[in-house]
Amino acid sequence: MKDVEMKMKERAKQLLESGEVARVVGWKKGDFCYDPSPATFETVEELDNFVYDYFCGANLSKYLIQISKKEGKTAVFLKPCDTYSFNQLVKEHRINRENVYVIAVECMAKFDIEKIKEKGVSQITGVEVKDKDVKVSSLYGETTLYKPEILLTKCETCQKTHQVKDEEIILHERPERDVDRFAEVKKLEAMTEDERFAFWKEQLSKCIRCNACRNVCPACSCVKCVFDNPASGVAAKANDSEFEEKLFHVIRAFHVAGRCTDCGECSRVCPQHIPLHLLNRKFIKDIDGLYGEFQAGEEAEGKTPLTSYTEGDAEPNDVLNGEAK
């Protein structure tokens, strides 16, 4: 990963120096080795803080909504999953495509610091990866962890490939993976209504309405959000009742249905560890099953399942009763 970072930094420097782009969007070092944050680099000096490592899980696409409106070209580093969101935003006319120079970068799956901490490792100072072993060094010594156990949830089932690129920095080949991303949704579907209700009640009651899932979501890019409407009675406030918890998450999931690229950012940023991706994946699974396989963000144009129809679509009642073809 160090070699990729070097290459990226070098390329960013070239682009800035030559004046080809006015700014580069990437990740910069945080206070600790495990909290790099998205950043814009406008000068070569600023690039000293540039970083790309196993903790750069953040999706940079959404930042381009604002940045791509600025004067001059913007170069951006996109991981495979980020390119779907990018395409989706181009499709919705939110990103000015001509103003963006996309550099596709490899991603060997990212780590979830919370999962590492859960393994009892704290005060982490660095990680080193060798195949499936991750050597985590901390102030208290070294620990070796098993890589698949500390991945971000969104990376566990990711099989995405770059959908858009102007150039690429890919030095290593990603191993093929064969995992069913709907496995957990199927597990929930197999439960009884009561069990499912109990499951979601437990999960959603943890919600503190911090709006992090909404703010990070590339599909949630409305200029004015229904939840910011003072007349809605739910604007910018903590949930008062069980109903309000559900209202927020049902409406949010429905609003991104057919546009959600399954980038998994919602679950990554949730401070309460609510498996929000399971809500979106239910819609994706239903859409795939009822209206044909559809992956949002694969194309930068065309219609989404909810803005199109066929005459022989399944009837809602049949879908509910499991009789839909």
């Binding site: 979601w200 109903f243 309000e244 049902v250 429905f254 129809y309 005459e311 679509d313 809602p316 009763n321």
Partner: protein, 151 residues
């Protein structure tokens, strides 16, 4: 000492029916003028087209104490606005399936196509839906308890 009554009030569900102005609402009219009955606890909300119904409306209805929500529109292919109900069909199929995924009883939500000529069908659909929801009981999973406090 005050006597505690254990007698239970018979449960009559609150049903909200979103009816399309051009077909189902006229269907309800026909049911009335044909002297066909449907339960009085069905509250009809007239909408210009079934596709006017925002998922928020459905949730709001449940919040305010509805025990069942039914959407009625023109038969697919007969929409006054040509394609409105095709979109409704996809939306509601996904929304209702999703609500069920969250543990909301699937009997509480329904979509039926009723044309302006189907007064008898309107009455039958409503009778059947009310019967189903009555058997199911009160909506406790998708309601705002504060709304019911005053009762």
């Amino acid at each position: 000492m005050q006597e505690v009554t254990t007698e239970k009030k018979e449960f009559t569900p609150n049903i909200v029916a979103f009816c399309c102005n051009w077909c189902s609402y006229a269907g309800a009219d026909l049911a009335g003028s044909s002297r066909l009955t449907y339960p009085a606890n069905v509250k009809i909300i007239r909408v210009p087209c079934s596709c006017r119904v925002n998922p928020m409306f459905v949730l709001k209805a449940f919040q305010q104490g509805a025990d069942g929500v039914i959407l009625c529109g023109c038969h697919p292919g007969d929409c006054h606005y040509v394609t409105g109900n095709y979109y409704t069909r996809r939306r509601m199929a996904l929304l209702f399936s999703f609500l069920n995924y969250m543990g909301i009883e699937k009997e509480r939500t329904r979509v039926e196509w009723v044309s302006a000529a189907e007064g008898a069908r309107f009455s039958a659909v409503m009778n059947d839906f009310v019967k189903t929801v009555t058997e199911l009981g009160e909506n406790k999973r998708l309601t705002d308890l504060r709304v019911k406090e005053g009762e």
